[in-house]
């Protein structure tokens, strides 16, 4: 019988009080963004905000608890932006959004950082719920960065995979790992690159015993990219059914799927709050389209990160996901 798990891809909006407090503490300019060695006051503000978003998830009744990635000023580029071997330069556009991050330029060996592991440790202390780690997938992280050290695109991707593998290795016990891979859609890998992207994902996934979900978004993967991704030893692929229904369905019908699946059915970038029943219905509809296939686990999630939303709407979206998963369980039983 299918298990329905409500979760999110993390990267939450800061609570409004934290937006104010941290603006005052850090400032508004490029050089004011997170450094990885922030002082006591800033750390305290983030600690409090982290506790709050963990509370929001618990109250909503989500089946997985994420740290919230509130410190990730540079969004998915964060793990590199705070790395010692990386120089951050100008502000660049974050995919096709009205959002910007510092261009991380890799200038040396990407040794162990532990930044994300520390966040997870802090989270584990605050909740008894099932913990979910969130990381940029290796392909997206390499796509968001500039390399001035390795000199070769394949070698750079390999170095990013090595780096992420080391970070995952240091994680506390987690139930699930979400690897976010929007670049697999937004700047789709070419021939050869697609296979290497899959191998890099496989390498990072192999560093943990937790279930690994790879979530591309802002559309559907090209067929070949999807086919290669299925070669990686991962538990679930995520599908952005908000941005593109037909091509995602086509991919699953044509190439099959992993035993588990993540369905991005709530829009992480629009304030229109979905009905839990509607999400449950769409979940059933997707399952119905696939005929015989029954997934072991279906993750119900927003299609994208939720930092695009006002805080109140983000909270509502989480509650809807939790309720939709409960409804799906009941219907299935």
């Amino acid at each position: 019988m299918t298990e329905y798990v409500s979760t999110t891809p993390g990267l939450y909006p800061l609570p409004d009080w934290a937006k104010d407090d941290l603006s005052d503490l850090k400032g508004h300019q490029k050089h004011d963004l997170i450094s990885g060695d922030e002082g006591e006051e800033i750390t305290a503000a983030y600690d409090e905000a982290r506790e709050e978003v963990i509370g929001v998830q618990e109250e909503a009744g989500l089946d997985r608890i994420v740290e919230g990635q509130l410190r990730w000023d540079d969004m998915l580029a964060h793990p590199l932006a705070v790395h010692d071997a990386v120089e951050t330069r100008g502000i660049v556009r974050y995919y096709d959004n009205n959002n910007f991050y510092r261009e991380p330029v890799v200038q040396d060996d990407l040794g162990f950082s532990g930044d994300v592991a520390n966040e997870l440790e802090a989270t584990a202390e605050l909740t008894d719920g099932d913990l979910q780690a969130v990381l940029p997938g290796p392909y997206s992280l390499s796509d968001l960065a500039t390399d001035e050290y390795h000199g070769d695109e394949a070698e750079f991707l390999g170095a990013i995979a090595d780096f992420l593998e080391g970070e995952v290795d240091a994680f506390p016990e987690i139930e699930t790992l979400f690897l976010l891979e929007p670049s697999l859609v937004e700047s789709a890998p070419e021939d050869g690159q697609d296979e290497r992207a899959s191998e890099a994902i496989d390498q990072v996934a192999s560093a943990t015993d937790a279930d690994v979900v790879v979530q591309p978004y802002w559309g559907a993967l090209e067929e070949k990219v999807y086919a290669h991704l299925l070669d990686a030893d991962i538990d679930a692929v995520g599908f952005d059914f908000v941005a593109n229904q037909d091509d995602n369905l086509y991919n699953i019908q044509e190439y099959g799927a992993t035993d588990d699946v993540a369905l991005g059915l709530a829009d992480g970038q629009n304030t229109l709050v979905e009905d839990p029943e509607a999400i449950r219905d769409r979940t059933e509809w997707v399952e119905g389209q696939l005929g015989v296939t029954e997934f072991e686990t279906v993750y119900l999630t927003t299609n994208t990160e939720t930092f695009y939303l006002p805080y109140s709407k983000y909270q509502e979206k989480l509650a809807v996901l939790a309720e939709a998963a409960d409804l799906a369980e009941v219907t299935a039983a």
């Binding site: 909006p13 800061l14 409004d16 937006k19 941290l22 603006s23 850090k26 400032g27 508004h28 300019q29 490029k30 004011d32 963004l33 000023d73 502000i91 556009r93 974050y94 096709d96 009205n98 959002n99 910007f100 991050y101 970038q269 629009n270 304030t271 229109l272 930092f307 695009y308 939303l309 006002p310 805080y311 109140s312 709407k313």
Partner: protein
């Protein structure tokens, strides 16, 4: 020298030169510190500073900045958008159908109150007629009215109510059209549509063009309509934008050191060009000589009668004295270039890009 009636209606009676390079600004200007303080007092529930007080403060600021523009010598002035907070928020508060749910991130700790369109957008009370009437009464010079364009009003909001952003943009364009009719009735002759969102999604230029058709419907041809676009890859919207029903394109080009200038040389630029000649991201006042050189860049694209001189974008983030200095030098430079043109001292080849620009 051939005439350009639409532009020449703003030519001052006592203009000293035969040539006329209209000088103006994009719109926003740094707010006096006391106006921000007045806003804080107004928002402080424990303070007696009430709505009337705040209104008076905004009136004073609008009068002050309009006069500051006059003093700098601008041919067409604006009130510096003293009554407006943010270019989407201000209008969204005045249009039925929008609601606010809190700030969202742009980058780092920079946020804006991105509104949601939750029902059909409707015209309620006028947005800018009072602002225009006040500014027009505060000066003898022509006043330009900047309005955030429908594409930007649609793109920089959450769309909960319309099929897609294009449908929302067209609905908003009808409201902008209604507002412009009211402004024209009130005496406005120069309207500027601001569409910065076009730069981030240049492939949508057809939507902006269609929205502009809605905007200008039944508006008298004599009314000057400008379109301001900034910080984008212009090669992706040119020459398509020449089809837009506007008299003038106001473009940021100084910031990129005119690297994109050649884009506009071929095919021929058939509209008026409001050229950005001072960089609003550099907190230093360019010299008159430097700005003269920048103005001459515009003459590589259009003849003098089609050229308007303006900063790259709104100057609101600059220190006020720097903003003023840029206006003042810009006007001096324009007058110098006009005089040089009159005397036949300027020989610039216009049209197709030259291979080397040195």
């Amino acid at each position: 020298m051939s005439a350009n009636e639409n532009k020449d209606q703003f030519r001052p009676e006592n203009h000293a030169n035969d040539n006329f390079l209209l000088t103006t600004v994009v719109g926003s200007y740094p707010k006096p510190k006391w106006l921000n303080r007045a806003k804080e007092l107004y928002q402080d529930e424990n303070h007696g500073f009430d709505e009337d007080d705040y209104q008076e403060a905004k009136d004073d600021a609008a009068r002050l900045i309009t006069n500051e523009h006059e003093r700098a010598g601008l041919d067409v002035v604006v009130d510096g958008e003293m009554r407006r907070n943010e270019m989407v928020e201000f209008f969204a508060h005045r249009i039925e159908g929008y609601e606010f749910n809190g700030p969202v991130k742009v980058w780092g700790h920079n946020y804006f109150d991105k509104p949601s369109v939750v029902s059909e957008v409707e015209y309620d009370e006028s947005w800018l007629v009072d602002e225009y009437k006040f500014t027009a009464s505060a000066t003898d010079r022509p006043v330009k009215v900047p309005i955030t364009g429908p594409y930007t009003l649609a793109s920089w909001a959450f769309n909960e109510a319309y099929e897609d952003d294009a449908e929302l943009a067209y609905a908003l364009a009808d409201l902008v059209n209604e507002e412009i009719e009211k402004l024209v009735d009130a005496g406005a002759r120069y309207i500027q549509i601001d569409e910065p969102a076009l730069a981030t999604t240049p492939d949508d230029h057809a939507i902006v063009g269609e929205a502009l058709e809605h905007i200008v419907a039944d508006i008298d041809d004599d009314v000057r309509i400008g379109l301001h676009v900034c910080y984008g890859d212009y090669s992706r919207i040119y020459p398509e934008i020449l089809e837009f029903p506007v008299d003038e394109f106001d473009l940021e080009l100084a910031n990129g050191d005119y690297e994109q200038l050649d884009v506009f040389k071929d095919p021929e630029f058939t509209a008026d060009l409001a050229l950005g000649v001072t960089d609003v991201h550099v907190a230093e006042v360019e010299s008159v000589e430097q700005i003269e050189e920048n103005i001459k860049k515009g003459l590589e694209v259009v003849p003098p009668e089609q050229l308007v001189v303006s900063p790259d974008c709104g100057v609101k983030l600059l220190p006020r004295e720097v903003a003023y200095g840029k206006m003042e030098n810009m006007v001096k430079a324009a007058r110098n270039v006009e005089a040089d043109l009159d005397e036949g001292n300027i020989d610039i080849e216009r049209g197709a890009p030259t291979p080397a620009d040195d």
